[in-house]
Structure formats: C-alpha cells, structure tokens
C-alpha cells in the first residue's frame, strides 16, 4: 500500500523493480493513520483471525533467515 504517492510514480516503481503483487493507493493516508504508521516502510502481518501478529518497522529482507522462520512458523498455525 502506498500512502500519498502518485499513480505514475507507482507504475514506474512497479516496472523498475518488477513488482508482481498489487499495490493499493492510500491517497489521503487514512489507512496509514488507522494503523498508526509513522515510519515508511512499515509491514504488518495479519493472520486469518484478522489479528496483527507481527510488525516490521523498517525495510525487510524477505530472504533473511529470521523472516523465513517467521513465515514458516505462521504457516504451521492451524486453520
């Protein structure tokens, strides 16, 4: 989700970094405000129950062992 960003900048970013996932535009930062985001980027991990179970307050290396361990731990959660 991109807060207060221009659509053309987002398209350029998507192409440049080959981002395949959808990017939502949070035009007036209302979503960011509701989540209390004061840093960018900030990542929230939300489980099936809608609970925030983790938060990362800076850029995340998605290939790091810590991140893989976290995701694998979450995948083991029962439905």
């Amino acid at each position: 989700m991109a807060s207060k960003e221009k659509e053309q900048d987002l398209k350029k970013y998507k192409n440049e970094f080959k981002v395949s996932s959808p990017i939502l535009i949070d035009e007036n930062a209302s979503a960011a405000n509701a989540y209390g985001v004061w840093n960018r980027p900030e990542t929230f991990f939300i489980n099936r129950e809608g609970k925030i179970i983790a938060r990362a307050l800076r850029e995340v290396d998605w290939t790091s062992n810590n991140m893989k361990n976290l995701i694998q731990y979450l995948l083991k959660e029962k439905k």
């Binding site: 989700m1 991109a2 807060s3 207060k4 960003e5 509701a34 004061w38 489980n47 995701i71 959660e77």
Partner: protein, 192 residues
C-alpha cells in the same frame, strides 16, 4: 532450510506493507509549511478533536507499545476515553484513563521533549505532536476529577504538574489551545 511457499503464505495471512515506496521515491518536502516562532496556531487549526481523529484506529495496548509514537498514540487514545468518561461524571474511571494517558505521554517527552504543531513523519505527511500540552490538558481535567473525589492534595499536584508541562509546550510552539489551558490552570484553585 525449506523454501517459503508464497502462495501458501498469502492464503494463510495477509501482509500489509504500508508506504512501500518509502525511501525510494518519497515525494519532496517543498510543500511543508513553516511558521514563525511566535505564530499562535488558532483553535480552528490545532485542537483536541483533530488530535483525537489523527490517533484513532488500532488501539495501542500498554504491553504492545514499543516505539515512541506508539506511546503518543496510546496517550491520545487513553485521553479520549478519559474525556468521554469525564463528561459522564464517572470520576474514578476518568481518573484512571487520564492518569494512564499521562503515563504514556511522559514516556514520549522523555525521548522527544519538544512539542511540534506539525511533526513531519514521512514525505509530506505530518501529525499534530503536542505531548507536553496534552499532559497539561490532562492535568487541568484531573483537577476537576480529584476535586470531585475530594482529593485536594492530588488536585494541587495536578495543577503544579500541568503548569510545568504547559510551560514546556509554550517554549516550543504557541497555540490558542495552550493559552486556554493556561487560563484554566490559572483559574483553578485546588482548595475550595
């Protein structure tokens, strides 16, 4: 190490990355307003309702607060609840929330001691950031609460504390709201 199955991850949970572009193509800050040091921000511009509305949403629990801005948000949320209870004359409940709000906000001023009318948090996004004034405003309301609970000593402490935090707030930024609180604290006589 097993490979992470991305499809599986997405079917099990939702990862929300806010401000994806963050540092890569953040908008320049030329749109940010600046104010002269002695400018008094009017109530129409900076007021309690605006502060509340900027901090609604996900509720901050004391045990989950880790960053300074979590404590600020928590302090504002507790204040809003305290103010609501104050209007209902629920003195003890209002006291608990306003005191909790002050506990949160004192953590904030320990790390970020200066009030700012508009604190830039990223890009051109700003928030009203007045922890000292919020404590002073809480203390003003707590005087009424303590008086109703017949605790004059605590009322006197709240008045002294409020004046101290108000002075800190006015050192950094001048607001019509702060001058209202100043008048309120001046008018308050802890002992009836």
């Amino acid at each position: 190490m097993k490979r992470v199955n991305l499809k599986g991850v997405l079917s099990l949970m939702f990862i929300l990355v806010v401000g994806l572009l963050g540092t890569r193509c953040a908008t320049p800050k030329e749109g940010l307003k600046t104010y002269p040091k002695d400018y008094v921000h009017p109530l129409t511009e900076i007021n309690l309702e605006k502060v509340f509305s900027e901090n609604r949403g996900l509720k901050i629990l004391e045990e989950n607060a880790t960053k300074v801005h979590d404590y600020y948000r928590g302090g504002v949320q507790e204040k809003e609840e305290g103010e609501r209870l104050l209007k209902e004359s629920s003195w003890e409940e209002a006291r608990d929330h306003l005191e909790k709000s002050n506990r949160f906000l004192r953590v904030v001023v320990k790390y970020l001691p200066e009030d700012e009318a508009y604190r830039n948090i990223y890009g051109e996004q700003t928030v009203i950031f007045l922890p000292n004034l919020l404590i002073a405003d809480n203390d003003l309301k707590l005087i009424t609460v303590y008086k109703n609970l017949k605790n004059d000593d605590k009322a006197a402490q709240a008045k002294a504390g409020g004046q101290q935090y108000l002075a800190e707030s006015l050192k950094s930024v001048k607001t019509e709201w702060a001058f209202q609180v100043k008048k309120g604290l001046g008018d308050e006589s802890p002992k009836k």
